[in-house]
Symmetry: C2
Subunit: 452 residues, 2 copies
């Protein structure tokens, strides 16, 4: 990437030197995505003026790569005619996303700038739920009719192409807009000119419903290695197109969401959230965890007499909880990820559970054994060593059981398998582990004390 001089650009903006800015823009032949990256340090006002000075048509490709929040703020700083032009040139799906997020006054103003048909299109697009195919699709795609000839089709593509988002696969509809097939541009070019589209099109076209969850759409596109997938309504009429770049974002966002939920974070937080917002979003999770942690206090309290008689119990106790929590998170993460990627079929739930319990048992015997060995030499107490061995083994079984069962249960309840699951799992391993460890210690307290 070449380097742009941000100072020079800011100076030109300040002095409203449009002509110089335009020539500077064309001299630096870099990708619009990189322009957007370099211009990140401009204020909203500066960026708005930049777009006005180089003109909305030239500025649009850059504007498309600007982050969503900045887009919204830049719009608010644009003058009427420039705003109208920019909005008109934008992709319908980007436009709808923006209109959905600005305040009501701005929304009405923007809608008033659009033609009737475009206005209705925007209103329809913003009516789809946030996580549905409809919210991600574009309505700007090339289309062919089944009864056209290849010659007509190529002519149409030539006319449609410059404006359309993607024309590598072209979808074919009948006279009532029902999706009936598709054809690749490659095949179209190679076909004899007089043949009808319906004779050479591929009829097994795979589509998604407009209200289908975007995560399921992303899974389908990965499954088939699709570049784009058509979106249809209940009557199989084509209403939109979802493209690979949307799927890049969806795969990324879904993974972030799972990762966040596993760490008890809200999906709306990110690294740029201001401090008060991060505090506000994290505190509810900590409060929930505080409530479950009180169960742990309650459990330990049950055995306070044993602890006061043999205080080593209090020192060794955290080991049981820590290793159990770690093992529980291992099971949890493997299962949550496999569920998210669709790698576990419904029929396999039991075998997953059995396996995780088996892993817990094996690891418990091994790691508990190591700890028993250490305990024996540290405290010189075979009883304590045996008790910690048993407690850790039981606790790692609990870890495997809850770590796999909780996400599967949440999925069956139609909730996100990662939702709050780590809190449940660590509470289970702490309460269970401490109960077994302190309970056994209480049962064999005389033997424990006899050795000291």
């Amino acid at each position: 990437m070449e380097e742009l001089s941000l100072e020079y650009i800011q100076e030109l903006i300040k002095e409203s030197k449009g002509q110089e800015l335009v020539s500077y823009y064309w001299e630096n032949d870099i990708h619009p995505a990189d322009w957007a990256y370099y211009l990140e340090d401009l204020s909203y006002e500066e960026l708005a003026k930049f777009i006005e000075l180089i003109g909305p048509e030239t500025g649009l490709p850059i504007f498309e790569f600007v982050s969503f929040e900045r887009k919204r703020r830049v719009l608010e700083n644009l003058s009427g005619s420039n705003l109208a032009k920019l909005i008109t040139f934008m992709n319908p799906d980007d436009r709808a996303d923006l209109v959905e997020d600005v305040d009501e006054e701005m929304q009405e103003y923007i809608l008033s700038l659009l033609f009737q048909s475009e206005r209705q299109n925007v209103l329809r697009l913003i009516s789809y739920p946030d996580n549905s195919a409809g919210a991600y699709m574009t309505t700007d795609y090339a289309l062919l009719h089944a009864n056209d000839s290849v010659q007509d089709a190529l002519e149409q593509i030539r006319l449609q192409a410059p404006k359309r988002e993607i024309v590598y696969y072209i979808y074919v509809v009948d006279s009532a807009m029902h999706l009936v097939g598709f054809i690749s541009l490659r095949r179209l070019i190679m076909a004899p000119r007089r043949v009808l589209i319906k004779e050479i099109m591929d009829k097994t076209v795979i589509s998604v419903q407009v209200d289908e969850d975007i995560e399921s759409v992303a899974q389908k596109m990965r499954h088939y290695d699709f570049l784009a997938i058509p979106v249809v309504d209940q009557n199989n009429r084509m209403v939109g197109l979802i493209t690979f770049d949307d799927i890049y974002d969806v795969i990324q966002e879904e993974a972030t969401e799972d990762m966040y939920l596993l760490a008890n974070l809200d999906r709306d937080e990110n690294i740029e959230s201001p401090l008060y917002r991060s505090v506000k979003l994290r505190i509810p999770w900590l409060l929930i965890n505080l409530c479950t942690a009180l169960l742990v206090v309650f459990t330990v309290n049950l055995f306070k007499d044993s602890i006061s008689q043999y205080v080593a119990l209090a020192a060794v106790m955290p080991i049981v909880g820590l290793i159990g929590g770690n093992a529980g998170n291992q099971s949890l993460t493997v299962v949550v990820r496999a569920l998210a990627l669709g790698e576990i079929k419904l029929s396999e739930h039991w075998s997953v559970l059995v396996k995780e319990v088996g892993v817990g048992l094996s690891n418990g015997i091994l790691i508990g054994g190591v700890m028993a060995f250490i305990t024996f030499f540290w405290y010189n107490n075979p009883w304590l060593a045996c008790i910690i061995w048993i407690a850790m083994t039981v606790n790692l079984i609990i870890a495997g059981l809850f770590g796999s069962m909780i996400p599967i249960l949440l999925r069956k309840l139609k909730l996100d398998p990662a939702l709050g699951s780590s809190i449940f799992v660590t509470t289970a391993t702490d309460v269970g582990g401490f109960f077994v460890f302190l309970g056994l210690s209480t049962l064999f307290l005389q033997q424990l004390l006899a050795v000291i």
Copy 2:
């Protein structure tokens, strides 16, 4: 998706009824990816025989969607001539991936089936490191020469197209194979036939190096919303092409890897790993955690006299550790994810640290306050309430500090920011939290005991 009858297919395979199988294949007009999905329950031997019966050429599209491990096993079950055909028809990058993974004998056998040029191509492809662009790229792409006319170019595409992976963007090279530009198929179709490619091509072509890390390649493709990106060697000669479907996988895999590392799991594990393998991969992490957990035991041991005098300390203590661990993982996950997505610039490291410490301080005061309130009414001891308030506040500051510092440090050491970081963070919050809590309790033991 329609339903296939697996029993019927198995029967045809068993009775070697090739003709019936071929007609069944063509009757069921479903996508090869779905065929591969349905055939998942066939044994390796059955799948190999299935491919032999319907013929390697027809079977290839299905075979491409079969999981990697199964591909390898199916190859071992194919007869010589069918193996040769299948291998020859495969994409060069898939072929190289397979050759890399089979045993030496099989490797030599497969290489002996290939033509000289293809053999050298495979050997070159498998020489690239696992996570480099070279390991993911295909060598099967359409190419144009700068001095060709549009007419010649279209003719060439017509010839190249049926075999090539993607021909939506076509890359342009000079006579020495240096990458000099690109052109979209769309633009090519619309251009006057006599113009030369170099006059209409886009010269600002963005490429990646063959040894570049695939994660960085994926970030570039997302940044530019690219469908494909050309791969060049040190001399800017084009050597391959990376396409969107590879990037779907990379984004997915990188996210899984981060999630796994945060939960102390090995990247090689997955839901299908057999029990002994899961045990083997998880136990090293648990052992490391056991070592760090011993530090916690050591810390608590320092204060065993105080605990034996006031056993409530042992019961309340786990709260400090649990909430601290949770808060630490929140900071950790936000920072690890932001680093992975390139959302934190080097210059911003300090501000991230300061913010996370600030969040820790605020949440500590709030959640510690709630716990102090509960403690006061539970134990009726204002001193204990104050001590737990202070200990939780300090511990949440530790959580914010270590949760943000450790991944940033690991990144500076050129390690993965998620590597083992959760073990460090929870150890820091446990040791720190217990030290502050028990230390303060020891300092004010007389006051604590006076209230009882």
